[in-house]
Symmetry: C2
Subunit: 399 residues, 2 copies
């Protein structure tokens, strides 16, 4: 029985993970759950079903509402960002699933790594984008494997298993191309939030769905892959594959390409991260290629989707640039979702932030937290008046 | 420096293998070559270039013509089927490449296995079809890995590396569908040899090209996969994929599918079998999926292509049935290539042979050789008069 701690239990990855726990009785035991607390009934339901020993609620204002609904005896309650770090680092478990969206996942994920957990399953790409060099160094020091939960990186990981890392010619991340793949640059100026949230192949949370529409999601994934698989940035390439069946590929030096395919179900990569190096027989829908129709591939269009280029530039620049990229993107996406800016302004704000925040090295997590906060303040200041909800910094998020 | 013995040096796989030896100076040394001898100039050229210590010529009548052309001092010459077995079993080498077409490869391949070579690289699928249980048992006893060179089985092998064999849900062999994929049953009665030899995606020898057109090639590969990967026959499935880019796939119990892709170049699987578990950087053309266009998949049509069903039936029946299937197919394909029978009669002759030759167990290689000869005699007897060139039995081939 593997003991799990789930950070981000009420998000789309967290809920899918808990469905898997239900689906395989006797395989997993939920030791700890973390959620913001904004959906008290859902949190109470999850506690009733999974009986975690510890519950972390990052929004302190939500604690009373949740506790009122909890079954007795209720789990130990931890509060705020500090509670989240305590849960990730101190609750005994074989796997910590890091599935909090955005930079807020950074400190708890680092705590899980430093505590020497058997496995840290990473669904939060932003943390690697912000602090990839520090996180991977910490993971090496602690001897903790970072197992990817992102479908693309899980695919790459599965295509690397058993093969020699030094014989990788390139990693090919597939991108659906998002809902605006065929849209002209002029039309992109007028897309609505509703259109951006209508992803053609994956059902995901709002932030990552918008990132898919801008292709920033793929840009973040290039950075994530660079760190997760320790490859030079130029060896990580992107190919648009609208059907989202081939989840990614690895090309080896001899010209052989290994790919991982499957239906678009986050259950597969989540379960693999939980059970690696084994697999459990999933009841999920199976891939039938004869019913899928054609699989197609095309080059991404850097001109219409500048976020991919911005991400590559930040990776190339190194130091704090990816932190700036990520923080600016989070604020900009929240502003777009809130109706404050237009879709194309997301990339414009990120570009402005990268030019504005001074370049420097990334010596430690504190620098990371500081630059994250600095960028959020700057970008928030550039937004139309009275917008503030995305301005919270990583280190002070939900405290 | 890996020392190689190449059986079938003048065939399409053998010549591609020797091109690779040229391409990687210092990596391989050719210790022994075997050929029929029907192309004396080619054999002499290969000896001049690769300086093998030993040369086996299976056609004794060809020896004089070849020896006259050989550079001095010429290699030790072995003659006939016995010489081939001596070369395979007694010449010291790390890898024996078994690339002789058809049942004639059986005894030398068994000799290579029993001699305890480091690796036997199998390009000859017919030997596994005939004697899969005996060969895999001998390989286990001798501790010799059988590495597939067939592009599909090399793909499967690459998709299994690093994953757990007992978690395989099914193996998906891809088939191009051959040149007659879209042809009606009525039109199949009138296809010519020239049409059958016009394979849409692969350049290969005549026998395997006709097998691709009848889909018998895929039937033989199902049997080959059953033995090579030790899986139940019903777990080996076939999907038609006309572009020949995905060379095969393995679906695991969790729904994850691992595929191997590449350009249609036998150099990739040959080289992998030579260098496994490493890879060498090939100068070959690389796969560019954005230029390939769409990858499509469809079910094979068992009604128009009965050979696939015949092969599955023979595998199911077990014992000598696959030997009968293979021998009847070899005689029938030779008869078709010789203009003696029509394309659709290939399947009819095989079906008749399977009904005619008595079922029995396959206790040893001698039974295999005997049933092979018996089937060839029977099927040859059913051909239009004065046809004889395909009637040679495995054990007496080219002696």
């Amino acid at each position: 029985m593997k003991r799990l701690v789930l950070l981000g239990a009420t998000g789309s990855v967290g809920r899918r993970a808990l469905e898997l726990v239900d689906q395989f009785p006797g395989e997993f035991r939920v030791e700890g759950l973390a959620a913001r607390g904004s959906k008290p009934e859902l949190v109470a339901d999850l506690c009733l079903k999974h009986r975690p020993r510890v519950l972390a609620l990052t929004d302190p204002d939500a604690v009373d509402a949740v506790v009122r609904l909890l079954p007795r005896p209720h789990p130990e309650i931890l509060r705020g960002a500090a509670g989240l770090v305590t849960l990730a680092g101190e609750v005994d478990a074989e796997v910590v699933l890091s599935a909090i969206v955005g930079g807020a996942g950074l400190l708890p994920t680092m705590a899980a790594i430093r505590s020497g957990k058997k496995t840290v399953a990473l669904a939060n790409k932003e943390t690697l984008v912000m602090a990839g060099s520090l996180m991977t160094a910490a993971a090496r020091t602690a001897g903790v494997p970072l197992l990817p939960v992102d479908s693309e990186h899980s695919a790459v990981f599965q295509c690397l298993v058993g093969h020699n890392r030094d014989e990788v010619h390139r990693i090919l991340l597939t991108a659906s191309g998002g809902p605006f793949r065929r849209m002209t640059k002029a039309d992109l100026r007028h897309v609505t939030v509703e259109q951006a949230l209508n992803h053609p192949t994956w059902k995901m949370g709002a932030k990552i769905t918008v990132d898919s529409a801008t292709l920033m999601n793929k840009g973040l994934e290039v950075i994530e892959a660079r760190w997760l698989f320790d490859v030079e940035p130029e060896r990580v390439q992107v190919v648009v594959h609208p059907q989202s069946i081939v989840h990614s590929m690895v090309e080896y030096v001899d010209g052989s390409v290994i790919a991982q395919l499957g239906v678009a179900d986050m259950g597969i990569p989540i379960l693999y991260a939980f059970t690696y190096p084994s697999r459990l027989p999933a009841a999920a829908e199976r891939l039938d290629l004869t019913r899928v129709g054609a699989l197609t591939f095309e080059e991404p269009d850097a001109e219409r989707f500048p976020c991919l280029t911005l991400a590559r530039g930040a990776l190339q620049a190194g130091g704090v640039a990816p932190v700036v990229l990520n923080a600016a993107n989070e604020v900009a996406v929240a502003a777009f979702l809130g109706g404050r800016i237009r879709f194309v302004e997301i990339a414009e704000l990120i570009e402005r932030a990268l030019a504005h925040v001074p370049a420097r090295g990334l010596a430690d997590i504190e620098t990371c937290v500081h630059v994250d906060a600095e960028t959020r303040r700057a970008v928030t200041g550039w937004l139309p008046a009275d917008f503030s909800s995305a301005s919270q910094a990583t280190g002070r998020n939900a405290t």
